[in-house]
Amino acid sequence: MTKTYPKASRPSLDDVSVSIEKGDFVFFIGPSGSGKSSIVKLMLHEIKPNKGKVIVNGKEISSMRGWKIPSFRRSIGCVFQDFRLLPNKTAYENVAFALEVIGKSKAVARRVVPEVLELVGLGGKEHRYPHELSGGEQQRVAVARAFVNRPLILLADEPTGNLDPDTSIEIMRLLDRINRTGTTVVMVTHDSNIVNQMRRRVIEIEGGRIVRDQARGVYG
């Protein structure tokens, strides 16, 4: 699969082929601009490959019709470096919003949201606003929002990029816990500590090509 951005002199991802099994925990690592973030965007159908296919959950999404994308995205949870929480909503409301806009009733939200907030370790802080929470706590809200719909895949694009090492490790424990429920976790990072500690599959990308794919890898 190849992705070239318009106006780019070389492809962001050049003839990359990778397959991730259900339930895996995979790191994509590499320097900035190596193309690892493009992987997340491709899996979300935010961008399309120029050549080749992207198959997620058994569906070829690279050729998916526009109107099918929303329902496809419901099977994927997403976490980002900048959390992307709504500042005028509480932790509870942020998570409930994700349910409500896909048509779930308030009753469902009342049942599910406290559960998932408890799971990510935010029990008792449901009614805090994002600015009243620490960075780690905000990222937990984001993880709760990504996971509340029980997605098959959790995509994490540098989820620890804005966090200190200790907080980062807590977030990683949380992702690990989510992975143990059977959710596939795909994480893009350049945080070597975390990769070394987790000892999971590591795929290293450089200049748009895969240079390493190791089952229990370290940052190297």
Binding site: L44, H45, G66, W67, I69, P70, S71, F72, R73, R74, S75, I76, C78, R84, L86, P87, F97, A98, E100, V101, I102, G103, S105, K106, R145, N149
Partner: protein, 291 residues
């Protein structure tokens, strides 16, 4: 719950950006009322054409020196003419009576004309009022005929004036409509920008496109509905104050504008306004909120 959410978001969006909303609604009012006025005028001219063409006649004025043989020749030719529906012979006396009746408010004028001075004529109603030329060709040269006058030509001047007023208001409606559309597009962009975080999250968690776009599209539709109702109120006020008030004397000649037609404008304006602004909003969002 979803309908409530969408409606609430729509109102919040309109209120957050209230100056723009007002500008949008005002341009819509002007544009739609101009459109409504020109539609009304169009219907009016149509109705008047139907009304007057029924009555419009061709007058064949006869020379003063005409003799009885010539007159009865013309009469029998008219009676057997397939283009002619009806013929009335208006004598000098009848012409004078009609003249006195028509200008009873101007006695000076009536007194200035002697009973003998008005020409006698045949009043000819045509089966098809458009066929004046044929009648003119057939009768203008006959002995005893002075002139053949098509009264339709007189009306045509009035219709021409109405037509140009109508075109003018259509042009104004067009320009204001364009301004209204640009304002709709701009308002929707601002609304979408002010909710970009929500929109980003909604896209991320897989909210359907219609759900993301509906509040914005409804904002435009709501403004258009409000604008069209107010535009209709303008038309009603225009009818009461202008047509039935200041210009009432003119409407004796021009036929009054009926309430039925004015009321018909409400659904027409509301329909055109809301469809056009919904499409504008939707197209704007296509460019602005990419999946």
């Amino acid at each position: 719950m979803r309908a409530k959410y969408v409606l609430l978001e729509m109102l919040v969006g309109l209120w957050r950006n209230v100056t723009m909303t007002i500008a949008m609604i005002i341009t819509m009012i002007v544009s739609l009322s101009m459109l409504g006025a020109s539609l009304l005028m169009y219907m009016q001219v149509d109705e008047m054409k139907g009304h007057y063409y029924e009555q419009v006649e061709v007058s064949i004025y006869l020379e003063k020196s005409i003799d009885d043989a010539q007159r009865s020749d013309i009469k029998s030719k008219l009676d057997s003419d397939p283009l002619v529906k009806d013929v009335l012979w208006e004598t000098k006396e009848m012409a004078y009576e009609n003249f006195k009746e028509q200008f009873r408010d101007a006695p000076d004028l009536v007194n200035a004309i002697g009973a003998d001075e008005l020409p006698e004529s045949f009043r000819v109603a045509l089966k098809n009022p458009q066929e004046f030329d044929k009648i003119n060709a057939a009768y203008a040269g006959l002995p005893g005929v002075d002139t053949v006058v098509d009264q339709q030509k007189l009306l045509q001047k009035i219709f021409d004036i109405l037509g140009s007023v109508q075109n003018l208001s259509l042009v104004v409606a067009g320009f204001m409509g364009l301004a209204a559309l640009l304002l709709v597009a701009n308002t929707i962009q601002v609304a979408a920008y002010s909710k970009r975080r929500e929109v980003a999250v909604m896209k991320l968690v897989g909210a359907s496109n219609w759900f993301i776009q509906a509040p914005f599209v409804l904002e435009a539709v709501f403004a258009a509905l409000l604008g069209s109702i107010l535009a209709w109120v303008m038309l009603v006020v225009g009818k009461i104050v202008l047509i039935d008030g200041k210009l009432a004397a003119l409407t004796d000649l021009l036929l009054p504008v009926s309430w039925g037609n004015v009321n018909l404008m409400l659904p027409i304006l509301a329909g055109i306004g809301s469809v056009v602004s919904a499409v504008t909003a939707w197209v704007t969002l296509r460019f602005y909120i990419r999946v």
